[in-house]
Amino acid sequence: MTEALTVQLKAGLDAPICLTWELTYSCNLACIHCLSSSGRRDPNELSTAEAMAVIDELAAMSVFYVNVGGGEPTIRPDFFELLDYSVAKGVGVKFSTNGSRIGHTEAARLAGTDYVDVQISVDGATAETNDRVRGEGSFAVARRAMDNLAGAGFGPFKISAVMTRHNVPELDGLAELADGYGAELRLTRLRPSGRGVDSWAELHPTQDQQRELYHWLLERPGVLTGDSFFHLSALGESLPGLNLCGAGRVVCLIDPVGDVYACPFVLHPEFRAGSVRDPGGFESVWRTSELFAGLRQPASAGACASCGSYDACQGGCMAAKFFTGLPLDGPDPECVFGHGADALATVAAGTVPSPGPGHSKPVRLSLSRRR
């Protein structure tokens, strides 16, 4: 009980705490900030049998739950089969959905399953704000899914929003929306990953909005954040939760084809640790990959070393730095003191890593009114 918890966590755990598993790249929406550039199914997707083998491994490693996402995970025809299999093995399932496939039958089925949490994504408290990011009609679809879950007596589901310049003014509205359903509100940070690489500059909250969000969150410790706003802790009192980048230490991602990445927001060859299809499976990737071993070494504070808030902020989010072309050992692009914005101004055009081809549909429908 001597070392600080963050020091112990930075050295890595025997199994991840926060494991995200994107079941498919297939999606019926085309959100402009999609972290995984989803749209088309990857033909090389893990089969049902392969997915079950991964669940067996997670159960053996005592992974308590997985955060299932995509794409839209419920598009997989074996979605409920995998969900039941996982729950039966003691690996709880928390899944994110756009709600398009949560009808009455599915809601009733979910209400009857233990150890499953459902998270409906909306990116605003109004259709107008939400639909400009997630596509025309997507708010109504999400509301119908919420109605269905409430009607089926599911209990407190989660309503999850990615904070943008457009929806920070709707924070209270989001809280009311959740309260109206007896739901929990979950707010997470927008990162420049996937299609977000292109939309981040125009969508990310302003400095003033970051302050507003920080104070709003401090007053509402019950709002869930996935500990994603720890860069805001540099403003003063720390937000509740773990103030550290957990990539490869307590966090990782399994993508639809079984590739393992350090975190859901770094889908890039540089952060690919291996594959669940490798001979040693997921366990050996988690425990022995060179990439993860490197991430578990103490990191240098770089240009943040002279900042009095480094202990609270830790230099912010590695993914946000990487995809904006900033050095990984310097300030976050959204550094509350503006050091990131200054650094961004010096990033040479053409040197920012590309998120790769991704799985966006070839012709992206213009679902949003992008200015």
């Binding site: 009980m1 070392e3 918890l5 112990q8 050295a11 755990l13 025997d14 199994a15 705490i17 005592s62 308590f64 739950y65 003691g90 709880g92 233990d114 150890y115 949490d117």
Partner: protein, 89 residues
């Protein structure tokens, strides 16, 4: 119900413990809480809690110096539902 070390406690049946280098992680499948048990001795204490007629007697086996800290840890684990009072019928 507040923690009373004169009473008997046990690990909640919906709680799973996973050993880690620093001790263990405890996860409650019911209330979805995750807690860090940051000393191997605390993990052992929690695991064997149900074999003692009271939390005090379970603590009695520990060196004096650790008893206070571990009693506090048990109180907090009881607050988060990780350990629960043993009911006799």
């Amino acid at each position: 119900m507040s923690f009373d070390s004169a009473r008997a406690y046990r690990l909640h049946p919906q709680v799973a413990l996973r050993p880690e280098p620093f001790g263990a992680l405890a996860y409650h499948y019911g209330n979805r809480k995750l807690v860090f048990l940051r000393a191997p001795e605390l993990v052992e204490l929690v695991r064997e809690l149900d074999q003692h007629p009271s939390a005090d007697e379970a603590l009695a086996g520990l060196p004096e110096a650790r008893r206070t800290a571990f009693r506090k840890a048990l109180a907090s684990l009881s607050g988060s539902g990780m350990i629960t009072e043993t009911t006799h019928d």
